[in-house]
Amino acid sequence: MIISRLVAGRSPVVRLAFLVVGLVLAFGLPWMIYPPVALDIAAWALFAVALDLLLGYTGLLSFGHAAFWGSSAYATGIIAVETGMPFYVAVLGGAVVAALIAVPIAMLSVRRTGIYFAMVTLAFAQLIYFVANQWRSVTGGENGLQGIPREAFGWDLADSFYFYYAALPLILVGLLIAWRVVYSPFGRVMVAIRENPARARALGYPVNRYKVQVFVISAFLAGIAGGVYAVGHGFASLQEVYWTTSGKVVVMNILGGMGTLWGPVLGAGIIVVLEDYLATAGIDAIGVVTGAIFVVTVLVFRRGIWGTAKHLLRSRRPSVPEADPQAEKPKSAAEPQPH
């Protein structure tokens, strides 16, 4: 009973308890694991939550989010290298660039829904990839953008342990924005659009405008994550805009549990730690492992870890309806194209 209240609970005390545990973990992470890995977890966690705003809360599978993570990684790097400004400015600048790139992509992509939306976003991300590959004078092409400085007010950030704490506020602010979006009236409209787009439109909400807004917010947050990642690693490479990166952030969502805020964070932690373990153990089969996680999760575990825990332990009706992936949606019930 206590556990069920803990997981499914809506009481402020329980929420606060979760928040405290989360913050303790966030601040204690570099003591528990290798600090560069801790930084990767933080960056990917924000990236995964950013995608969840679209995938879990609005019901739109973007399979091209590497475009925003990656374009911000490059933009952040260029700003940091060229101006030498504190990395906070560079990361915010990178995130703005990602959001600007997201505007036209979002406006075109929302013209299709469902599976088409996934294909179209994937294709646009591939366009960004080809541009990054060809525009060598700016991105360094296949060599990537090297030597991004960890500069901030003359602090000594060479040690990843200290850089983690310098970068953590950016990640936490990003997560706070996501949390504010989800639990705002705007967030309720997102869920309404996911549950029944036709009804949301009938109620007078401009569905496509909302979708574009969520998409751009999501790209901005993915941009913050990508910028922090680039500064942390000191370089931005084509890997950051490649489709495997888009796939990786999707698997974090479905493994952890989309449509929850803690799920993607958990999924990011598991995937990053797993990849680090495989690399350390010299097992070079990340594609097989990631692919197997996709297959198993989708076949038997569609709510993900956090979603399953919530579902099993729920005692009361949630105030925000959950995405229930177990529910059978007949294909013919798909939304007609708006015109």
Binding site: R112, G114, Y116, F124, T244, G291, V295, P325, S332
Partner: protein
Amino acid sequence: MELVLQLFNGLVSGSFYALLALGLSVIFGMLGVVNFAHGAFYMLGAVGAFVLLDTVGLSWWLALVVVPVVLGLVGMVFERLLVARLVRLDPLYNFLLTFGIALILQDVVRLRYGVQSQPYSRPELLDGQVNLGLFVYPKYQVFVLVFSVVVSVLVWLVLTKTRVGMIVRASTERPELTRALGIDVRRWVTPVFGFGIALAGLAGVLAAPMRAVNSGMGGDLIITIFAVVVIGGLGSVFGSVAAGYLVGMLSAVGNLYASAFSQSLVFVLMALVLLLRPAGLFGREEGVRA
């Protein structure tokens, strides 16, 4: 002159787009599934031809028959064991499932054969050049173009002129009504899936002598194919094939005038189509399932 030659080059590379888009479209029509692993099966077709030549000395001509048949059977097993379990859910789950399968297949081949490309020489009969009047062209490339057109036309004839094709089209457009008329739609799902996979394998075998044979050859290609079917209209078999050749020619012409951007042109065209005709050039609103 140079332009005509480039257009012809475009038709040849468009042959691969067309065959892959055709298989993707047929599968989507019958099952409502977008098969992300389509590029991986194309890669398996090429690698399969290489492995059979390397181990048992199977000629390219025999591989052209054997590999698609075997992959088609593998596809049918894949459909029965995995895809069928999710087919009644939101189509996104099968998209994610086939994405996972694509990652696994690609990585397994990489682990076994590395990332470097395997050599595969042209069959003797198709080696050398042929004079096409306007220009001299490699025989093999001409064969690929003719072969892909013949296959596309055959598939179109089967779909429009035969009883099987009628059933498949009816099940695609109105599954419930077709069932109500006493036709067992489910019976056709697995064979159609296998057929689509076989087409991808066929494209792979065709690609082996002229493209780099390696584990990554299908990964980027499948995304281009997605753009192709969005341009053509995924519900439309004719549209997918036409868009395949169109995109091939567009990229080739782009290569002539702005080679750096030729790979990007397909995505720009997709953006334009989304802007002006969201259902695709040959798609109909009604036939499109989002």
